[in-house]
Structure formats: structure tokens, C-alpha cells
């Protein structure tokens, strides 16, 4: 029953966002161009980086590019559902305006997390799927119905894991509201998931473990499609996302006790 109510609210919010986006045509075109540019950039950068190196950290060039496609798909969904809200959360904390979200008869964290929808980010998802299909064919990847279901579950876990990482870091702004530009750093850090975890291991084992949650978000879905996944991988991705989401919820409740509502 409660779930149904939340879905209805989200649906309403989604249409409100579409309406507000289409109200300004230049804004819509600008957003579409911007989304297309950033959808293409990970592929272009990987193409350029791998131009001189056919094999990287035990991965073939096409496999590394395929990893980028997986990143583009789930990060595109993240941009659509959450990114704009995190940008606004940083501003709301800085200006001391979150309380309006607590006055609504719905969970504050839910509303803060999803009320803005980056509608044009669907371009990223489509471009990601397009490249994924192309390189998947080149690599001879076949996807069964079960693979498809497992892939969707893994991508959902990846999405929630990234959400939890962002929320856990951004909540520190409650104590340092002026650092609202921290959210821009998170965009940069999230890009680290585009590369295989072996890359970090070759430099430093500790670095690999620090970045492990981010690496899992792309590596596990790709392993499903390459048919070399183990049950440990499923449990690791599922477990880490559940634990981090739980921490994000507890941290949200804890941090809000220190929210003073005063603008910096």
C-alpha cells in the first residue's frame, strides 16, 4: 500500500519535471546536447587511452570499452534519477532550506533523493545500450533470459550502491555546508568505475580495496555477460549495496539531528 503511494508520487514528480523541462525550449535543447556530449565522452576517452595498448591489465581493448558501456548505462540511470537531487541537496544544505521537505506527508530522504528528474539523461542510457549492443556483438556475447534478469538485478544493486556512496559523503555537508561543491568531486570519483579493478591493484592493493565498491558496480554486470561470474561476486555486490544503503539511511537520520537550518 505504502509502496503504491510512493510510486504514484514518483510518477507525478516525473511528469512535473517533464513539463518544466519542455517549458523552455532552449533549456531542453541545451540539456540534450550536454547529455549527448557527456554520454560520448567516456567512450571517446577510452578509445584514445587504449589507442596504443591492445591489452590492458589482462583485459582486451574491446572488453575495456564494453565495461564503459555498462558504466554508461547505469550511470545514465543514476544521472536521470538521483544526480540532480544531489546537486540540489548540496545547495539546500548550504542555504538551509531542507525543512520544507520534512513538512510533506512522505519520507524526507525519499523526497530529497528523487524529486528532481534529469529527464534528458535518457540519452546517455540509449547511447550506452547502443554501444553495448555493438561491442557485445563484436565480443560474441549472447544474453539469455536468465542473464537479462540477473543483469537487471546487478544494475539495480550498482545504482543503489552508487546512491549510498554519494549520500554518505554528501551528508558530511551538514557539518560543513559551505563545501557544497563537494558534489562536483563525486562526479569525478564516480568516473573511476569505468576501469577494471585490476588496474588499481597493479598500482596499489589498498587503492583497489578503497575503490572496490565503485569497481563492483561495473565489473559484476560485465562478468554476468561474459559468463565468468561466481556466487561470491553476486553476494559481494548485493551485500555491499545493502550495507551501504543501510548506513546511508542511519547516517541520514543521525545527520538531520545536527541540521540547524541556518544558511552559510
Amino acid at each position: 500500500m505504502i509502496m503504491k503511494q510512493y510510486i504514484r508520487v514518483y510518477w507525478k514528480l516525473f511528469f512535473l519535471n517533464v513539463t518544466s523541462l519542455t517549458a523552455y525550449r532552449s533549456g531542453l535543447i541545451s540539456n540534450l546536447i550536454s547529455s549527448t556530449v557527456w554520454a560520448l565522452f567516456p567512450f571517446i576517452s577510452i578509445f584514445l587511452l587504449t589507442a596504443n595498448t591492445p591489452v590492458l591489465f589482462g583485459w582486451r581493448r574491446e572488453e575495456v570499452i564494453f565495461l564503459s558501456t555498462m558504466y554508461a548505462v547505469y550511470y545514465g540511470v543514476f544521472q536521470m534519477v538521483f544526480a540532480k537531487n544531489f546537486l540540489r541537496l548540496a545547495v539546500l544544505i548550504n542555504t538551509g532550506e531542507i525543512e520544507s521537505f520534512f513538512l510533506k506527508p512522505i519520507d524526507g530522504q525519499f523526497l530529497v533523493s528523487v524529486s528532481r528528474v534529469g529527464v534528458t539523461a535518457f540519452v546517455r542510457v540509449i547511447i550506452g545500450i547502443g554501444f553495448g549492443y555493438f561491442f557485445g556483438k563484436q565480443l560474441g556475447i549472447s544474453v539469455s533470459f536468465i542473464d537479462g534478469i540477473l543483469l537487471l538485478i546487478a544494475l539495480f544493486c550498482s545504482l543503489m550502491l552508487l546512491y549510498a556512496v554519494w549520500m554518505n559523503i554528501l551528508l558530511f555537508l551538514i557539518w560543513n555546508p559551505k563545501l557544497s561543491n563537494l558534489v562536483e568531486v563525486l562526479f569525478t570519483i564516480s568516473g573511476m568505475a569505468r576501469y577494471p579493478s585490476n588496474m588499481y591493484r597493479m598500482v596499489n592493493e589498498t587503492l583497489m580495496y578503497v575503490l572496490l565498491p565503485l569497481s563492483l558496480t561495473t565489473v559484476v554486470p560485465v562478468k554476468i555477460l561474459f559468463h565468468n561470474i561466481s556466487w561470491q561476486d553476486y553476494f559481494l555486490l548485493g551485500g555491499v549495496s545493502i550495507v551501504l544503503c543501510g548506513i546511508a539511511r542511519l547516517f541520514w537520520l543521525f545527520a538531520m539531528r545536527f541540521y540547524t537550518s541556518s544558511s552559510s
Partner: protein, 265 residues
């Protein structure tokens, strides 16, 4: 004298917001480090060369990119396009007895100095711990020319970004254009890979653009990879791009101010 005052007022503001500057600097830090990690792993922990560059040359390039990214890279497009034109605050500046171009140019320098300072600290730490990974010029004549090139690199970056910023007179929401140019800047400016590593046709196109003169060539100059003749050639090209974009800015500004309504979006 008024520009000196503008500089110091902005320096005070930038210094009071040093926490934010640290966070901005982190962005300039993470990307080059990530690419360095990529090449370090790709060269088998530095055991073989890529396009004739050893791991020492590659690491020097990316470590210097940390400083260059925070010191030379202007963000005037956001200041002009979003804060002044889109938000309708340009009216205040139109009434002031200063050149709008020069005022924005000087206003941003303190932010570049503070963020560049963090870059220098990180670079010195890198040099301390990974000294054998960093190659830099020690020739006095080259260093003097490098300082000139560095200042002109900021001026090139500013000139290009200022023109993108005033496109908001016509586009209002100029972000689409800005993001498109940002991608070209990242590739042709050498942010992703040194231009030498690019396929030759992309390298040739990139060299026709102003962006390598704002980032790539200044880094090569500090690495000591350019002869004195080449350094003067870079300075000449930088001055050419600055004049070209300043001319473009002047023409667009005269037309754009007539379009400006002063109404925020």
C-alpha cells in the same frame, strides 16, 4: 589602480573561501592521477614505453597537469554566462567604470593562484616521494620563457571561455555549447592523453585549435621538451589566439549588450 583593488578584493574573497578552493582543486587532482594510474598499469608498472614516452615522462606530464589544471584553466564562461547574463546581474557591471573583459580577467586570478598553490604543494610532495618519476627543465632561460607561457596560457583559456560565456546573450542557457567545448578542450588540450598519444589525424586537428596552447604546450615547456625556438613559437601562437578571441569578444559584446534584457531566468 582600480584593477589592483579589484585583484585584492577578490583575493580576500578567494582566501576566505579556501575550503571551497580545496574542493575545486580535488577535481583538478583526481583526473590526472586517474590517468597516471591507468598508464602506470598499462605500461606494466612502468616497464615499457608508450609512443616513445617512458613512465617518468608520462608521470611528469600528469603531475604537471595537476598544477596546470588548477592554475591556467579559466572558468569565466560560468561567471559571465550563468551568473551575470542568465541571472541578470550583468546590469551592475555595465554601470561600473571598468572594462568588463579586464575586470573578469583580474577577478579570477586570485582563485587560480590559490588553487594553483595547492597544486604546487601536491607536486612538491610527489617530487619528494617519487623524485625519480618527475622530469623538469632546470635551464634558467627556459624557465623564464615557461613563466611567460604559463601566464599567456591562462589568458588564452580566459579569452576562449569569455567568448563562450557571452554566447548566453543569444542562447540564454549556454550550457549545451559550454559542455560541447569542454569535451573538445579535454581532448585537444591534452587532459585525457598527451596529444602525442592520439591518432595522428586527431593530433593534427587538435593542433589547429587554441586549447593545446592553454594546457598541453605549457606542460611540455616545463618538462623541457621544447627548444628555445619552439618556446617562442608557442608564445607567438598564444598571442595570436588571445588577440583573435579578444577581437571576437569585442564584436560580440557590442552586439550582445543590445540583446541583454536584464531579466533573470
Amino acid at each position: 589602480m582600480r584593477y589592483v583593488r579589484i585583484f585584492f578584493l577578490n583575493f580576500q574573497e578567494a582566501f576566505s573561501e579556501r575550503g571551497r578552493s580545496v574542493v575545486w582543486f580535488l577535481i583538478a587532482l583526481f583526473n590526472p592521477l586517474l590517468y597516471f594510474v591507468f598508464w602506470y598499469a598499462a605500461t606494466g608498472s612502468g616497464n615499457h614505453n608508450i609512443a616513445g614516452w617512458s613512465i617518468q615522462t608520462i608521470s611528469s606530464y600528469y603531475f604537471l597537469l595537476i598544477i596546470a589544471g588548477s592554475l591556467f584553466q579559466s572558468f569565466a564562461d560560468e561567471q559571465i554566462g550563468y551568473w551575470h547574463i542568465y541571472q541578470g546581474r550583468l546590469t551592475n557591471y555595465l554601470l561600473k567604470p571598468v572594462s568588463y573583459y579586464a575586470m573578469n580577467f583580474i577577478s579570477e586570478i586570485p582563485w587560480r593562484i590559490i588553487q594553483g598553490f595547492f597544486g604546487v604543494i601536491v607536486f612538491l610532495l610527489m617530487k619528494l616521494f617519487f623524485g625519480n618519476f618527475i622530469v623538469m627543465t632546470s635551464d634558467v632561460q627556459t624557465i623564464v620563457l615557461c613563466i611567460c607561457i604559463s601566464f599567456l596560457a591562462y589568458a588564452v583559456s580566459y579569452a576562449v571561455k569569455a567568448v563562450i560565456g557571452i554566447s548566453a546573450f543569444w542562447l540564454t542557457d549556454y550550457y549545451g555549447l559550454a559542455e560541447g567545448v569542454s569535451m573538445i578542450l579535454l581532448i585537444s588540450g591534452g587532459f585525457v592523453v598527451p596529444l602525442r598519444f592520439l591518432p595522428s589525424w586527431i593530433e593534427k586537428i587538435a593542433l589547429l585549435l587554441p586549447f593545446p596552447y592553454a594546457m598541453y604546450f605549457p606542460i611540455l615547456a616545463w618538462m623541457g621538451k621544447l627548444s628555445v625556438g619552439e618556446l617562442f613559437q608557442v608564445i607567438g601562437m598564444q598571442i595570436m589566439w588571445i588577440l583573435l578571441f579578444f577581437g571576437l569578444f569585442t564584436v560580440l559584446w557590442k552586439k550582445g549588450v543590445r540583446e541583454y534584457s536584464g531579466v533573470s531566468q
